[in-house]
Symmetry: C2
Subunit: 198 residues, 2 copies
């Protein structure tokens, strides 16, 4: 029931998504720490108080942005999964997934960062929208991990998947922090996931 915003209507009609879009766009270049509700409101062309009628407070908007970012990250992983060459090894597939993860972080560092900020998403208590996204990411990683180590016990598979997530995530963070380049991340994944490295 979107009311078209013709002219200078007093009521915007669809301000909530407009604010989200404006903020999400600002998140291309601005860290979520520096995101200001007032600037977002100005960008959307409304008063500095309008956002409070759609988001309880600043953190609520950041939560929403973190969900949208996680959804984008999941899409990147799904795309990597879909474009997998059926001939490629299980290890190459896992590396491709990891590379997609790192690439998203490198391309949208501020969006990536808001996903994992404990000040935004309360640790251990993900929102109803966030929880399935997290599960989906874990499922993708676990599936790819199982393909590498098919004969392993369930508990080991879980531990190994956690390790894979950690490795991929850590390389992404190190890239964002500037300690390594994206070019260094891929051979690191290759080396780490090579069981014959001994």
């Amino acid at each position: 029931m979107l009311v078209s915003r013709s002219g200078d209507a007093y009521h915007h009609g669809s301000l909530k998504p407009a604010l989200e879009d404006a903020a999400f766009e600002l998140l291309r270049t601005t860290g979520h720490t520096d995101l200001s509700l007032r600037e977002i409101a100005r960008t959307a062309g409304v008063s500095h108080n309008a956002p409070y009628h759609h988001f309880g407070d600043r953190t609520a908007l950041l939560k929403r942005l973190s969900e949208r970012s996680m959804s984008e990250l999941l899409d990147a992983l799904l795309a990597a999964q879909a474009s997998a060459d059926p001939e490629q090894s299980a290890r190459a597939h896992l590396v491709a997934l990891g590379t997609a993860y790192v690439r998203y972080a490198a391309e949208y560092p501020e969006r990536f960062r808001v996903i994992y900020d404990p000040a935004v998403c309360v640790p251990g208590a993900p929102s109803a929208e966030m929880a399935p996204l997290i599960s989906a990411v874990e499922k993708i990683l676990m599936h790819a991990t199982k393909a590498i180590s098919p004969s392993v016990s369930d508990t080991t598979l879980v531990a190994l998947t956690t390790g894979v997530w950690g490795a991929v995530h850590g390389l992404a963070e190190l890239v964002i922090a500037g300690h390594i380049t994206p070019k260094q991340a891929e051979p690191a994944l290759v080396a780490l996931f090579d069981p014959s490295r001994i």
Copy 2:
């Protein structure tokens, strides 16, 4: 040449370290994002402008805190290295290092976070105090990695070390973000560093 601060001297005598200490202490519980120069100044008992005579701006103080935190993290790794059982396997040693890394992050999440915030430490251009700390951490990890894969080429060793750092770092971040518990991190390290997992 520290002037003792007897009574209400106009000049503090050693305000710079006092400010650092106060801020570092606040960093036990408060995120560096929420650290306020004015609160730090109040804690140290000086006016809100005194810090500007010792730190150019807020970021300069955060830089200093990030160096102190990195030094603490390095100490944790060195302690783990020193207390290594000579009988333990190379793999167990690497797991112990990783566990120490994760434990520091879990115990001082706010200090850990300031280390890797690109808004604090300019990516790719570490300060003169930070650079050797980073190198030392890398050296420790590389040494332990080489012990696991002694016959590997130099380039592979570098890639593998990057992967190990990423894994350890990512698990630490996931713990801080609340996605996994410290208890889950250790078996993940064990599984990941086990070359016979296939």
